[in-house]
Symmetry: C2
Subunit: 349 residues, 2 copies
């Protein structure tokens, strides 16, 4: 035989050539897709910052701008539905930029054969969620695809918010010593969705934590402007949110397992199903990095707000191990909390 | 038998209870869905205006805001693809409000198994289209659904534009006597897509007219600010655009069939397939209502622009037959041009 030796590639090619569910996880595969397929062609300095929202300067105003498509399954679940999720999810991405939500667009992709009553219930829920924030749904679009080419109902919402004077939030502002605050127990949304899908019954009323965080954020910013950055740990859970901040800020993060609130039924379901609450999605929680001097005031403000009643100080940014998130267990050991490569629970939002 | 007599409903219930393809047509069923299912719950005065874009006053600036989801089939076609369509389509909705396009968001819903090379080609096309306008894609989102729950690739784009001082466009400004200008031949996009789907070969190079109209609009507004309103006749074609304006302005519209430019191959394909070019989609054309005194200057400005070279005066707004669009044929007869109830060509954009 002549010619060069042919090597075969040990990496499963399928995962590189074709879209897999993990590309929608918000984890490593999502990041890879963004880096390899979108950023090189869109070439936007603002997009390259990879914040949950773009902050745009228009006529002297700083506007936050963010988009999300919702493909959650099932459409209705305890604690929420695709409609409330679509409104609150985008409002929360605006709020994580410190912005006051103003306006939403709503784009619907409907599957032929969808019961219009289902659409009506989702629209009613969107209207109710928007009223309670308040935010105004000012423009929309509806497309229909043939039966078998969609899955009932997908909703895109895109939001515009106004960033108040003096508010500046960015992972780039995080410094070693900053405190990590979490607004409440993690994993409720993911486990509620999973329970709904799998027909698991809980003895208590575990529900999605789906809620708009703009009020909580306003209360926190009123307590101190020394908040560095915030994230709502949705897809990929608390772990992904912390890893993203650590990587972008160039700091290490150390968190205390015993300080992280997790409901008993979420902990139980996770043990039963082999899940780690750190990776399970939330839809009404936030994690904030706050200057050491301001941490107590911000934590108190959170606890005074209905959505931050169980807020906790869970850790610290450090100058050691930059880019890594470490978890200290109650036994005194430490482990690295990495981002998941793919998906733990597909179609969670 | 006692009790009241039970009547059965003569309207086919299926079309009222379930989503059909016609609900995505931009015609009567779309309007019905909007009126019955969305507007009552969203209760937004801005949305209720039903313009192609919302115009928002934020900090003294007037911003246009618009959203569109793209589900076109096939994804690539002569003259464009889902990527260029997604950028140009939203830019055109901004431009129809007189706005200079500034920023876009991009939301992707991918079907598991999609060839990543297809996504890359679409993203590259989006980047190229955005560069040429120019507009910046500043924020995005990617979701993945299981194989068989989507159709390869759906894209939502939402845009923000700035409406210049002095520009005010609205159907409410249309007056009897206003001239109706059309920027060029109609039906190219719809017939190009249909040809691609059905494997029809044309002797010439018929292609989609997919193009960004913001430059043409800027040239028109530079010629005169006495433009009343503009629409890009996409889904539902020229007929739907004129009917919408007539209804919202409370005027009649009379157009001359012989004045409406239609390419020979589009006319031929329409005759062969039993389609009416007035209902076929365009993606790079606009229709404008202009004050009589300004019409000539605006038409000249259009003709000097590459995308308005074949612009024509096609009709007039009238005080008679308010809400109706009448077509005068070359034989001197007149017929009503109504909106289609449902869909002539599904998934055209």
């Amino acid at each position: 035989m002549s010619g060069p030796i042919q090597f075969t590639c040990p990496v499963p090619l399928a995962a590189r050539d074709r879209i897999v569910l993990g590309h929608g996880s918000g984890g490593k595969l999502s990041a890879e897709l963004l880096r390899d397929v979108f950023l090189p062609y869109f070439r936007s300095p603002i997009l390259n910052r990879l914040d949950d929202q773009a902050v745009l300067e228009i006529n002297g105003a700083r506007l936050a701008f963010t988009t999300d498509s919702f493909v959650v399954k099932p459409l209705f679940f305890r604690g929420g539905d695709i409609g409330s999720l679509a409104v609150n999810g985008t409002v929360n991405d605006l709020a994580m930029g410190g912005a006051t939500p103003l306006y939403l667009s709503a784009g619907f992709i409907l599957e032929e054969g969808l019961d219009i009553e289902i659409l009506r219930r989702a629209a009613e829920s969107m209207g109710r969620a928007a009223d309670s924030i308040p935010v105004e749904i000012v423009t929309g679009d509806t497309k229909v695809v043939e039966k078998g080419k969609g899955d009932g109902l997908f909703i895109n919402t895109t939001g515009i918010g106004l960033v108040p004077e003096g508010v500046r939030l960015s992972p780039a502002l995080v410094r070693p010593g900053d405190r990590v605050l979490l607004s409440g127990p993690i994993g409720d949304h993911g486990i509620a969705i999973l329970a709904e899908r799998e027909g698991i019954e809980f003895s208590t009323d575990l529900a999605s934590d789906c809620a708009p965080l703009n009020g909580l954020v306003a209360a926190m910013l009123a307590a101190s402007l020394d908040i560095r950055t915030m994230r709502d740990p949705t897809r990929g859970g608390l772990s992904s949110a912390l890893n993203e901040i650590a990587a972008r800020a160039g700091v290490g993060v150390t968190i205390e397992e015993s300080a992280i609130p997790v409901r008993e039924e979420v902990r139980g379901a996770c043990e039963m199903l082999g899940l780690d609450p750190l990776y399970v999605a939330n839809e009404g929680k936030l994690v904030a990095f706050v200057a050491p001097d301001a941490a107590e005031a911000v934590l108190e403000a959170m606890r005074r707000h209905a959505l931050g009643r169980d807020a906790a100080l869970i850790g610290t940014a450090t100058g050691t191990h930059p880019g890594l998130v470490l978890l200290r267990t109650p036994f005194g050991t430490t482990r690295i909390v990495d981002m998941l490569p793919g998906d733990q629970l597909p179609r969670i939002c």
